[in-house]
Amino acid sequence: MAVRVYSARRVVTMDATTPEATHVAVRDGRILGAGGPELLGFYPGAVEDARFAGKVIVPGFVEGHAHASEGMVWRRPYLGFFDRTMPDGSTAPGARTRADALERLRTLEAELPPGEPLLVWGFDPIYDDGPRLHRRDLDAISTSRPIVVSHASGHIINVNTLVLERSGFSADSNLDGLLRDADGLTGELMGPPAMQRATRVAGGGGLMQRLDEPGLRAFARQAARAGITTATDLQRKLDDETLDLMRRVTAEPGFPMRLVAALGAREYTLAEGVARIGQLLGTGNEKLHLGIVKLTVDGSIQGFTGRLRWPGYHNGAPNGMWYIAPAELEGIVAAYLRVGAQIHIHTNGDEASAVAIDALEHVLARCPRPEHRTTLQHCQMADAAQFRRMAALGMAANLFVNHIYYWGEQHAALTAGPVRAPRMNAAATARREGVPVAIHSDAPVTPLGPLFAMWCVVNRLTSKGRVFAPAERLDVAQALHAVTLGPAWTLRLDHAIGSIAPGKFADFAVLEDDPFDVAPERLREIDVHATVVGGVVCLP
């Protein structure tokens, strides 16, 4: 097969032997090598491809923590604060003010066929200093159609009076999770029992449970647009139907993404989950990687369900929830490690991280497993001592640095408090202590966008423009590592992706600007021109 040599303004390889290049040679979907124009002479019959001549080629980005539901949430209208790009490439505009948000709802309501509920997502009132959204605001839009507004945090919904009535909730119900004021219930509901009930009676239950083909394709389009060539779907019930879909779609030569599908342990009993992952190991293809199991230990910090160490939540909220009991975790980790799975553990609060580190240490003491690469996902509050233990145990951290921008102010005011919030997602400390570091979006929680995550970790700016702990900033090279080789290592794919080196897949992100040239505060503005996956060019 023909050798194609791409020429570019610059090729940043993330490969220590040949860090810089202008050309990269590709054959059979793999990289022959990077270098200068001399590459053309190495391979008789090689064709120069200059379509990226003015662009900058970097290794295809690796999104180590996202969810394929990113391809499906857009079926419901978006009511967030920030502009977001939808799978079809159009912009879902942010609603900057309460009036904007209500106007958007009014328009949506007018377009809906009669009888259909109005269900929107992404509402983020933390940038809004006005009074909390009230059922009266939604009643002004409709009293005859159920309205459910889900918040960006995923832990709160607002509903109109009709939904309250259908749920059996009224001023005469005094139950946990129902916010009230002098006029009775406000229509703001917190916590799964009340939220699930309201969503169900509104007619929005059961939506988006199962990954479907349009959803998977839209996820891949979203990824390609962000320069991502490998993305995780980090919590999935991997039943036959879902796997058949993944196998079939990823096997298409033009499918523009490698998919790493992690088995969601909470979808199975332990015995079933262990058996299932055992069946799946080694059954992927070049674009479908199986063998990771995702465990969820605590909740989220902004939802006050993350487990924090002393002194707990700054606003005095009680400590969060365990989804897995600490004493249970060791047995679960041992069972999955024994069958050969790789483990990614969701821990947001530092108490949860401590429990996960303890569990792994106990398991490894009994049954050592080289190269287990157990990864803590989010790991937002880990401190130097925790990172030292993680390094000693061979663990990695995939930090949720986008939180600094999206929820940093809220963390300072309410959750971690003004002292600990700036210390969250301490990427520089993690690196210094020897922990392999990745950064992620957790899309659809925040938008897919490695360049944005790089911007977050390089600048550490909150939405109000405050800098959080400049000493924890990464430089651009370290940030680029955290969206390429770093996450590739956490997925046990660093031999195949994450840098531009001989033998690896020809997976590139082609950028309009050079991340090393632009001012650090402009990193997030760099446009992605194209991606290349296995040598196939994908123009978003």
């Binding site: 005469d172 005094n174 009930r197 239950g205 929830m321 989804y323 600490p326 004493a327 249970e328 108490e351």
Partner: protein, 292 residues
């Protein structure tokens, strides 16, 4: 109405053992909702039908997995017309949080909140900084606390009883040596009509009924419900409110309550279940003062 029994308790407290035994020895037709469907071991001889998320037993009982949506699961099992639904709360969840939903779930009435605790291990769990708060929270609203593994507890049993009494003085505490608890014990056992206030070991709860056809003042009733003594565990019954036509169903449990419009023309009466400290004279005065 279907009675709902929520069974909580930390991991290892013996919930699964209890549920397996209840299913095997069912005397009434009931449904069990569990988190970990795989852990329920039903004798094959007892099994009539099974699929991925439910089992039907020869004795008419069913066992289903709760899945993602507890309310939906309640709705589904209600369709089978059970007399009783037993819900196994997950070992790390707050059982009171889910029990409350029964106060507004159509067709259900909330039975006692039953919390299991390992008698030998409870003091240690409560002292554990990572989970002490979770275990304490599970006990905080219990009506019945079942101490399991008491045969292994030795002298710790005294300490366990003491900490339970400190956390939830209203709870009735029973001991189950090997998960041996009858379904009858997991209810508000009250004496028969005539001997209503002769509380005995077999009848740890008291009951008292308020009967008055006159409607309550809604605001005054809400205020009353917000200030009831800790000896009141449950209130259930029908009443009128203000000048509104028809009746309302009132359910109250541990500082949480709900009244919803009721279609049936049942007698206006409120049944109060409480601990042995329940004082009817005091309550009667309060209820009378809240009338319109």
């Amino acid at each position: 109405m279907i009675r709902l029994l929520v069974v909580g308790g930390f991991l290892g407290a013996g919930k699964t053992t209890l549920i397996n035994r209840l299913l095997a020895r069912a005397e009434r037709r009931f449904a069990v909702l569990v988190n970990d469907f795989g852990s329920v071991a039903v004798d094959a001889a007892l099994l009539a039908a099974a699929d991925a998320s439910s089992m039907t037993l020869a004795n008419g009982c069913v066992c289903c997995s709760i899945g993602d949506d507890f309310g939906l699961a309640l709705e589904r099992v209600a369709a089978g017309g059970p007399e009783l639904v037993v819900v196994e709360a997950s070992g790390v969840s707050d059982p009171w949080r889910i029990a409350q939903l029964a106060l507004v779930e159509p067709g259900y009435e909330l039975g006692p909140l039953v919390v299991l605790a390992d008698a030998a291990d409870l003091p240690r769990l409560l002292a554990d900084p990572a989970i002490g708060d979770v275990v304490r929270g599970q006990l905080a609203y219990a009506d019945i606390v079942v101490l399991t593994k008491t045969d292994l507890a030795g002298e710790r049993l005294v300490q366990t009883r003491e900490v339970v009494r400190t956390i939830r003085p209203q709870a009735h505490v029973i001991e189950a040596r090997h998960g041996e608890v009858g379904l009858a014990e997991l209810d508000f056992a009250v004496p028969h009509e005539r001997a209503r206030f002769l509380a005995t070991a077999a009848h740890p709860f008291r009951t008292w009924t308020w009967r008055d056809p006159r409607p309550f003042d809604r605001g005054a009733l809400r205020a009353l419900l917000g200030a009831l003594p800790a000896s009141v565990l449950r209130i259930k019954g029908f009443c009128g409110l203000d000048e509104e036509a028809g009746d309302f169903l009132l359910q109250y449990a541990a500082e949480r309550w709900s009244f919803t419009r009721s279609g049936a023309g049942a007698e206006r009466a409120l049944v109060v279940i409480g601990t042995q400290a329940l004082d009817p004279a005091y309550l009667a005065a309060d209820f009378a003062a809240a009338l319109r």
